[in-house]
Amino acid sequence: MDQDVILQVDDLRVHFFTQEGLVRAVDGVSFTAKRGQVLGIVGESGCGKSVTAQAILRIVPPPGEIVGGKIIYYRQSSNNGAGNVTQTVDLTALPARGREMREIRGGEISMVFQEPMTSLDPVYTIGDQIMEAITLHQKVNKSEARERAIEMLRLVGMPRPEETIDNYPHQLSGGMRQRVMIAIALSCSPSLLIADEPTTALDVTTEAQILELMRGLQQELGTTILLITHNLGVIAEMCDDVIVMYLGKVVEHTDVDTLFFNPKHPYTQALLQSIPRIESTKKERLKPIRGIVPDPYAIPSGCPFWPRCDHYIPGLCDREEPDYITVEPDHEVRCHLYDPERKTNAQVNESR
């Protein structure tokens, strides 16, 4: 495998066995994340973005279970100064609560959560919680851990870190708490950081600060980031590569420029048409995607997007699930329209 891949997800399936029925939250997701880059995962609520993240960390809550697929993590460790050695680990094969998984979780792959208001335990100081992560994964004593925690707080732009470290979460604002979460996540110098809608719960000015902080730290530390969001603006600002998810499936995977200037999948095209443009001068209505996201208990057969798709081909889209089709190098799309055996490309491009 190439040296620059850090994570390869292959046909991942996570199902929730609820009393109301089976929910295929993630149903055949494949993608690769390149080392040192920011990979965005974009999609509507409930499309399986967060569950994919939980699956990578092996913290899918019950009744959810990984029922298929592989998550290959290219683990790098220095070999006594003789350069780096990369070793592949299939995360789905490790016991979720076992020692090796716990070493990776938080130590090499860490996560920032959506709700900074509730992602810190209210009864411990933020220092306690940062030091908890540090002492778990590094051989340091208490005062060294505290030093490191203060250093991390300073790194994420916390004012007066020597004092703030002894604050309780309720004494901090949402933006400050998210900085603490980022400090915890980065405290063990992880090689992969998963950020699950890190700015969704924050107001716009705070959002800009947090994104700027993450981008700065990413460039400084070279951490790979998996950025989950439903906000295309965040994607445009932050990401190198993007995957678009719809109902538990990846529908398109490409680099960020291609996503915005040459999207192929009808869902991606529709998503882009539904965002307001500041430069458009003429009065123009936003074009929402028609229909609603189907009930998770009754996902349509074939391509899951066909009931809402403008280019629906009866008898094909609702029967057969499309494969990944490589339309250009590094640009994959799951849509029958781009099947080389069908010559309907022109039709799609016209309608854009």
Binding site: M111, P122, V123
Partner: protein, 327 residues
């Protein structure tokens, strides 16, 4: 923090004063003065009351003076440990209560301890193994324990112990030890009797507590900070003990404060069924016989325990929850 404590303490004192006034009013509610009742009681027993005795009582309770003087007299006596006289037993109320309070406290404390030691781990187990077999079994036992009335369980246990083990289970001692001085044998006999009320009273308390602990913990386990703790790589046992249980125990501490009066009132019905020498049956009889100083004393005692319990619970909460401590 200090301001919080002082404020709480002042609230407590104010409440106590009001409660004592209400308690005094209740004591004086039955028709006729204390003297009339006393005289009538005496007559029914066939003895007449000497004039000097009446005068002495009048002076003791300031009965010829306004009500607020009577109240002040009573409450200042109360503070000094003079609770008045029970005419049903014709003894000082303080003697009656002190001789039973020890056993009551032992039984109640052991029951409380039993309840918590059994219920908290089971609640944690049930929540962390939700809908698994163990959870279902404990839920079933818990619901059964909640729905069986205590006196019923007491009767059943008495029959079983008597028939199957030939053990006498009424009271706290076997007949031969009842008036004997404390020896190791008497202590062992005491322990043999103690488990019955503990189990009887404990089952329903345990059942309720299990359900509460389970429910609270399930709520907490869904919180994001639990996931965040897991995502840090913390072992599951530490996630549960350090982060989840500490937050879930919160509402139970309030409950602990409210169960303090129960230490005196005991479980009256069970105590009557098992003929335990505790304060519960005494209180019950005092109410039935309109033994006003005895009943009033109990009333005030129960309120004091409740208020102190709440105060202690507030202290505990402030100790475990920085959001309360620092506001």
């Amino acid at each position: 923090m200090v301001a919080y404590l002082i404020r709480r303490f002042l609230y407590m004192i104010t409440t106590l004063i009001f409660v004592s006034i209400i308690g005094f009013v209740i004591i004086n509610l039955p028709p006729g003065s204390y003297l009339d009742v006393y005289r009538a009681q005496r007559q029914m027993q066939g003895t007449s009351t000497a004039k000097e005795e009446i005068e002495a009582l009048k002076r003791r309770y300031a009965l010829d003076q306004p009500v607020y003087v009577q109240y002040l007299k009573w409450i200042s006596g109360f503070v000094r440990g003079d609770f008045g006289r029970s005419f049903q037993y014709n003894r000082e109320v303080s003697d009656l209560i002190w001789e039973r309070l020890g056993y009551t406290a032992i039984i109640s404390f052991s029951t409380l301890l039993f309840t918590w030691i059994v219920a908290i781990p089971i609640g944690i187990y049930s929540a962390t193994h939700q809908y698994k077999l163990g959870d279902h079994i404990f839920t079933f036992i818990g619901l059964a324990g909640l729905s069986i009335p205590n006196f019923m369980l007491a009767l059943v246990l008495m029959v079983v112990a008597q028939r199957a083990f030939g053990q006498s289970v009424g009271g706290l001692f076997s007949r031969e030890f009842k008036d004997a001085p404390w020896t190791l044998a008497k202590f062992i006999d005491f322990l043999k009797h103690l488990w019955v009320p503990i189990v009887v009273v404990g089952t329903s308390g345990t059942a309720g507590l299990i359900r509460m602990m389970r429910g609270n913990l399930l709520d907490i386990l869904n919180m994001q900070y639990i996931q965040a703790a897991r995502a840090r790589g913390l072992p599951e046992s530490k996630v549960i003990v350090k982060h989840a249980v500490r937050n879930a125990i919160h509402p139970l501490i309030m409950l602990l404060g409210m169960s303090l009066p129960g230490i005196i009132s005991g479980s009256t019905v069970v105590a009557i069924v098992l003929s335990l020498p505790t304060t519960g049956p005494l209180y019950f009889n005092a109410l039935r016989q309109q033994d006003m100083f005895l009943a009033g004393t109990f009333l005030l005692f129960l309120s004091v325990m409740l208020i102190i319990g709440n105060f202690l619970a507030d202290l505990l909460l402030a100790w475990i929850d920085p959001r309360i401590r620092l506001e």
